[in-house]
Every structure is written in C-alpha cells, then in structure tokens.
C-alpha cells in the first residue's frame, strides 16, 4: 500500500502560553484528493497548515509529508512589491536554485495557467486583489508541488472574484492532481472544491465530522445550483453549528 501524500496522526498543539490550538487531529490526504477543513475563525485551522508545512512544530503526534517542494498559498498574496509579476512567479524556482532559462519557462507556463498573460511586467501595486492571488497561485505552481496547502486564500476578495478563483483552482486540481489541503470558513467553497470535507470544532480544534463529496470532476460552475450540492452544504452547516453550540 502506498503512503498518503500527507498524513496527520493524533496531532495536538499547545502553544507556550498554554493556548490549546489542536487536539488529537488525524487525517490523510492522498494524491488526487482535495481535502477541505471548515471551521470558524480562530479554531486552529491555520495552525494546522503551519504544522503541515513545518513552519510550526506540533507538541504531539506524527506528521508525514514530503516538504521538499511543498506548495503553500497564504491568506495574503505575499507578493514582493519590488518584483514584477514575472519575477515574483520566478521566486520559488530561484530559491530552489533552478537555472534562469528553466525558471523563465516555468514562470511563463504558470502565468498562462492562471490567466495573467499581459501582466508579467506589472508591479503588484497595480494589480487587483484577485489578480494578486492569481500571481500567488502561479508562484506556487512553478514548483509543481505534490502537496498543495491553501490557507483561506480567497477570504479577502469579493464574492464574484472568489467564485471565479474557485473555478480556476478546481481546473488546476483537475489538471495537476496534487494532494490538496484547503482551509476555509466558506461551506459552499469547501463542497465545491473538495473530495472530502472535515468540520473542525472551536478551540482546541478537533475534527468532529467528515463528509465525502460525491460529485465527479471536472465540475461545472452550475454545480452550485444543484439540489444535491445544496443538501450537502446544509449537512455540513448543521455539523458546524453542532460543533459550536
């Protein structure tokens, strides 16, 4: 049996100040799986991603993941303002010592994947919030990460942009088939993107419910209007209320 791309076993996290952020969290994400964790703000979702990526060390439990080319999309686009879109997208390849010619071609492919052609020489300050997030996605794509972590990446953009970015993320997933771990507080975003949705309780975060999402890929935008989609969203919503009542 092959190893899952990302595996949490009985992971707990207590900060030095005594705050208990996570309690006994276990789950797996296989390649080709898109797992989303929904929970309200402050329940420890971001902490979980930081632990997965190695930015934080868990206080207890085991994490298995290949961190060599891990993809991490932050809440903010975190573009370097002094670099153009192209140079921002090239950054990670640069940090991994990939040579200039290959870097440029990786960046060009990634820019086209997220639809930012024509903006390669723009500086971040002249981009809209949605375009910044696209550039941030493109930057992560250059490394072709086998594991892709998303930390509420579309929380700061407007609803229409958010839906469009969801559709693009879905397209990237259908194409690249990475192991995706997505954090959000939007239930419809979670159901729309994922193969599996976990509900997290309030601090200390525990996984209290899980839902398999039965819809086939490729998924169409109008899936959101499907009755079964609405029903599943309702179930997730109920579980979320139950976890926080």
């Amino acid at each position: 049996m092959s190893q899952p791309a990302l595996s949490f076993r009985n992971v707990s996290m207590t900060f030095p100040d005594g705050t208990r952020a996570l309690s006994d969290v276990s789950f797996d994400v296989d390649r080709g799986e898109f797992v989303t964790i929904v929970g309200p703000s402050g329940c420890g979702k971001s902490t979980l991603l930081k632990i997965a990526s190695g930015l934080l060390n868990a206080s207890a439990g085991d994490i298995t993941v290949d961190r060599d080319r891990i993809g991490y999309v932050f809440q903010d686009a975190t573009l370097l303002p002094w670099r153009t879109v192209r140079r921002n997208v090239e950054l990670l390849a640069e940090l991994h010592g990939i040579d200039k010619a290959e870097r440029a071609s990786l960046a060009q492919t990634a820019v086209e994947l997220v639809g930012l052609q024509g903006f390669e020489n723009h500086f971040p300050r002249s981009l809209s919030g949605g375009m910044k997030m696209r550039a941030s996605l493109a930057r992560t794509l250059t490394l072709k990460p086998p594991v892709f972590l998303f930390d509420e990446p579309f929380g700061a953009v407007d609803e229409i942009t958010r839906e469009r970015l969801n559709e693009e993320t879905l397209r990237l997933f259908e194409q690249e088939r990475f192991a995706g771990l997505f954090i959000t507080h939007s239930i419809s975003e979670a159901v729309f993107l994922s193969t599996k949705v976990y509900v997290m309780s309030a601090r200390p975060g525990r996984l209290v419910a899980s839902f398999d999402v039965p819809f086939e890929y490729p998924r169409r935008p109008d899936l959101r209007f499907d009755a079964r989609f609405a029903e599943l969203c309702g179930q997730v919503s109920l579980a979320l209320r139950g976890a926080h009542s």
Binding site: T78, L80, L91, L92, L95, H96, P124, S128, V157, D158
Partner: protein, 289 residues
C-alpha cells in the same frame, strides 16, 4: 489643432468638445496649483524683507537687514566675495560628503548586524540613542581636544550627527517585511544571506531612502557646525559665517546662509530623485481591490 506645448484659450473655447484642450487646461490648473502658492509666499517674504529694511529700520541700523538687492550685489554678484564663499562651500561639501558616506556604511553595517539577532539590537540600540541625544555642540569641543581641528575631526562630527537616522531607518526597513513573506522564505529553506539579499534588503529600501534624506541634510549641518566651532584650518562655510557676523557684513552673511541652505536642499532633492529613480516604480500605496 495647435502645438500641444502651447495653450491658446480662444482655440480651446472653439474646440470645447475635444479632449486635448481639457487636458491642457487641467495641466494649466495643476501648474497653477503647484507653482503659484510657493511663488506667492516667496514674493510675500521678499516684500516683508524690503519693508523691514526700508521702513522699520532707520538708515543707521539698516546693516542689520540689508535689502535683497544689496545681498545680491555684494554677496553674489561681487566675484571676490562670491568666490570666497564658493571655496568655503566646496570645503564644507567635501566634509559633509565624506561624513555622510562613512555614516551610511557604518549605519548599514550596524543595522544589518542588529537585524540578525534581537539580542544584538538590544545591546547596541541604547548607545545609538545616547549618541543621538548628546547635543552636538557639547561634543564638538571634545572632538577638537582629542583629534585636533583637521579634516578628519570635521568628518567625525558629520558622522556622529548623521548616523542615527540611517541606523534607525535601515533597521526599521530591514524588519518591515511581512511575516508571510518570511514564512515563504522559511518554507523554501532560504539561507540567512538569501533572506537578507532577496527579502529584507529590498524591503528596507523605502525606509533607507527616508533616512538618507534626513541624514544628508544633517551631515551638511554637521560640516558647518564643526567648522564654525573649530574656527581654524581650511576655511569652510562655518568659519565664513562667523567672520561675516563678527564684521557685521550682513550682505555676505545672508548670502552664505542662503548658499548653505541651498546645499542642504540640493542633497535632500538629490536623494529624493534617486529614490524615485530606484524604487518609485513599486513603492507606495497599493491600489487594493
């Protein structure tokens, strides 16, 4: 249509549906908004100056404030006087330049070292504040006692006065990169040097330039103050100011004050221009969503 560099109001009215006259008139109103107010204040100052010289002061006491055209003809238009001042300016400029250069190098090194470990910052920062808090007038005689009144002592005065804004602004700038950006570099195992070169240093540039503009002006002041108090050695603008004041040579005194301030303004403008050239394209407010 007419030549775009000229503005003809009649044609503008005739062609009122066109875009160009509109653009031109808005350019004209920008010109009026930007250039006219300072010109008006300048004219008011000159007017007040004449009023004081000719109306408030009786002829026996007019030496206290000679009218502007006297300052011009004696201070600037008389080559003997003017060349003396230019030599003094040249001497002071050299001192200010070397002082600023050393303050920049030393300030960068200190800020970079402090940015690498909190404990180093805690160890050094109080002394930087102490250095800044010592009145420069108190330390100038000491420097004279210890190191003599030569070129290097004057440069030292400039370094002391110009160092603090460079250290503080550079350090602030180096520490200004967002946590998310640091996380990104951590995730991809960037070395300390890579982080410094690709993240912290570029992030610091806007603050560095803000510090440079302040320090450049301070270094000019340091050069003049040092020369003024040392009062010997190569004659700089400070010694000239003292000489003209002692001899009640108001015209030259005024001309020297104007020249010194012009030097300060020009280094300020130079660093503003440099900053615009180097970081103007990306620094500044984001357009947001």
């Amino acid at each position: 249509m007419s030549d775009p560099t000229t503005f003809d109001p009649v044609e503008a009215i005739i062609a009122d549906a066109g875009q160009m006259p509109e653009a031109k008139s808005s350019r004209r109103s920008t010109f009026a908004a930007v250039v006219l107010p300072p010109l008006a204040v300048g004219a008011a100052i000159v007017g007040l100056w004449y009023f004081t010289s000719y109306v408030l002061l009786d002829p026996k006491r007019r030496f206290l404030l000679q009218p502007p055209h006297e300052v011009w003809s004696v201070g600037f238009a008389d080559w003997d006087n003017f060349s003396t001042m230019l030599e003094g300016m040249w001497s002071s400029s050299k001192v200010a330049f070397w002082g600023l250069l050393i303050a920049i190098l030393l300030g960068f090194v200190l800020a970079i070292v402090m940015s690498q470990a909190k404990v180093v910052e805690r160890a050094i920062f109080p002394y930087a504040v102490v250095l800044q808090a010592i009145p420069i007038l108190a330390i100038v005689p000491l420097i004279g006692f210890w190191f003599g009144y030569g070129f290097s002592s004057r440069v030292l005065v400039c370094v002391i006065i110009a160092l603090f804004p460079i250290v503080v602004n550079t350090l602030f700038g180096l520490l200004s990169a967002e946590q998310g950006m640091h996380d990104l570099f951590t995730l991809h195992k960037a070395s300390r040097l890579t982080r410094l070169r690709r993240l912290m240093f570029p992030a610091a540039l806007p603050a560095v330039f803000a510090g440079l503009r302040i320090s450049a002006g301070l270094s000019v002041i340091g050069a003049i103050v040092g020369d003024f108090f040392f009062g010997q050695g190569e004659v700089g603008i400070g010694q000239l100011l003292k000489r003209y004041a002692n001899r009640l040579e108001g015209e030259q005194l005024f001309a020297s004050v104007i020249l010194s301030s012009a030097l300060g303004v020009s280094v300020f403008l130079f660093f503003g221009w440099l900053s615009g050239r180097l970081i103007g394209k990306w620094a500044g407010e984001s357009r947001g969503n």
